[in-house]
């Protein structure tokens, strides 16, 4: 089923997709002329497939649940923010705060992600085939951020228990973020994440980063970190 945002309103399209009649067998949707609209496909909650042909604005697929959303273009700030489950696939580049506070599901970005990718992530898996901007995985609590390209400054600042795997160069690590061991268990774990998205990359070549856990409880000796 097709939608054309140059003819229908954002509200009409979102409302339809958020309230799918599961008895009908419509599961595949295409949206043409997204025209950089904000909050397009936000709040989806069924196992449907949506393809957006073009570039979108902020919060595309925000709080996505169960749906599979593919954007054939670039996305603005906060794509798949607070996603609960499902898959969001950005074929172009992503702007800031991609996958912010995501609680589950998978976000794949074929191009580059900008700054604060995976900020405060809470269980989402984010895979970026390009590079990520500064402050990525800031305060990341859980989930996995896999980067095939490079990472800019302050990667994983104030990170909790999320895992970062990076194939390329990391400009600098943030507070309390350190390089961690890539043992067999980790290689297997990363391998599964890559295979699930059909990504051909050698997990053994990645480095892993995570929390040093020294900021978990207030200690005056850490005053320079505060």
């Amino acid at each position: 089923m097709n939608f054309d945002l140059s003819k229908k309103t954002l509200r009409e399209v979102n409302s339809y997709l958020q309230n799918i009649d599961l008895k009908s067998n419509q599961r595949d949707f295409v949206i043409k002329n997204p025209l950089g609209n904000h909050a397009l496909c936000a709040g989806l909650q069924d196992e449907i497939k949506v393809t957006i042909k073009g570039h979108v604005g902020y919060y595309c697929a925000g709080m996505n649940k169960k749906a599979e959303v593919t954007i054939e273009g670039n996305v603005g700030t906060g794509v798949a923010e607070n996603m609960m489950s499902g898959l969001v696939h950005v074929k172009g580049n992503a702007s800031q705060s991609a996958g912010a506070t995501g609680q589950g599901g998978t976000l794949v970005i074929d191009g580059d992600a900008s700054s604060r990718c995976g900020i405060s992530m809470k269980g989402i898996n984010i895979i970026v085939k390009g590079s990520v901007g500064h402050m990525s995985a800031f305060m990341a609590q859980s989930g996995n951020l896999v980067i095939l390209g490079d990472a800019d400054e302050y990667l994983g600042d104030s990170i909790y228990e999320a895992k970062i795997y990076c194939l390329g160069k990391v400009k600098s690590l943030g507070a309390d973020c350190i390089e961690k061991e890539m043992n067999d268990k980790e290689i297997k774990h990363l391998s599964a994440l890559l295979e699930a998205q059909n990504i051909k990359a050698d997990p053994k070549k990645f480095k892993r980063y995570g929390s040093a856990r020294s900021l978990y409880n207030f200690k005056i000796d850490n005053v320079s970190s505060y």
């Binding site: 909050a39 936000a42 925000g62 649940k65 800031q96 506070t101 207030f218």
Partner: protein, 439 residues
Amino acid sequence: MSEIKKNLKGFSTFPHDTIAEIQRSAREGIYQIRGLGAKRKVPNFDDLVFLGASASRYPLEGYREKCNTSVVIGDRFAKKPITLDIPITIAGMSFGALGANAKDALGRGASAMGTSTTTGDGGMTPEERKSSKYLVYQLLPSRYGMNPDDLRKADAIEVVVGQGAKPGGGGMLLGQKINKRVAQMRNLPEGIDQRSACRHPDWTGPDDLEIKIQELREITNWEKPIYVKVGAARAYYDTALAVKAGADVVVLDGMQGGTAATQDVFIEHVGIPTLGALREAVDSLKELNMHRKVQLIVSGGIRSGADVAKAIAMGADAVSIGSAAMIALNCNADMYPEDYEKLGTAAGYCHHCHTGRCPVGVATQDPELEKRLEPDLAGKRVKNYLATLTLELQTLARANGKSDVRNLEPEDLAALTVEAAAMARVPLAGTTWIPGYDK
């Protein structure tokens, strides 16, 4: 020794509590973290009085002659605004900061009086949704427990920019209160000291807030009123920006507002008193021609029906209570003296929410302490307190000739101090003088 003490002169700049605090800092090497709100005296509603009835203004009879208290909240854009029976709501306090019994009791009490409660920096609990007739769901920088199902279950959504106790500070919950359930809801390891972010992760500034509010409306089918909560900083501009960003309601929390845990310096030295901030916010709404179209809910040191009446007279649509609601639950009640002593404090002085050892079972996750707060009885206390506030509000409104509390106006007030006159823009009692105001 007491003979000598009678003739000794203390230091105004270094009184006993300041001496104790400096020496504590020297021992521990870290700032003091505590709960509740500003302890020091600031200009507040006590410095205003109502004029009442006179030869020119006639009062209404109590009971017989109606005095309406209900208010509609959120009818600017939302499809389903909320009608509150009383203009007093329960402010945001997290599950985590408070125990489950406390949240349950607040829900019961508020629902019995036809008003709302608010979630906090920990997400929505099923108990809270069940016991609250109207539940406002907060969207905070941390986004702990945030999910679209709860957004849809809520009756309103409150985007938190800041709170009065710490405008510019993020949430804080120390490890001793991060038990298994709290940890799971917040997606954190048990027992760590939680530091929340102070800015939202996916928007900064009112131009982006406008887009965020649009997203929240899209996810909830434009049904729910969207509130924007700010701590009292630049209330005039913050109110205008909330309106421009598309909010239905502005929630303004003055410096007296409480918190479960933050640095003492933040609580005492950042933010302006509710009295001054309220004046600014109402001015802003009036200039935008949005007064009463975008509702204003005010919190931070609301204690009695007199405070409620004065806030409404100054232009608020409703008030919110946090610390006072906790006190109705038993916060600082004169019971379990040994447990207060174990914390190094006493009933009436306690601000130890951050320890998780609340002697009366309100701000704790400890199951033994929680037993001291029975939700049904505590819920009745909250209901009684809200009912008393409402009766007091109506009494004062009637005395000023109002059949609806929303008809209270600034001209019904006089100020007892120069500061209050200037801040509230109300004449000093017995004069026509408003300091700094040229008509």
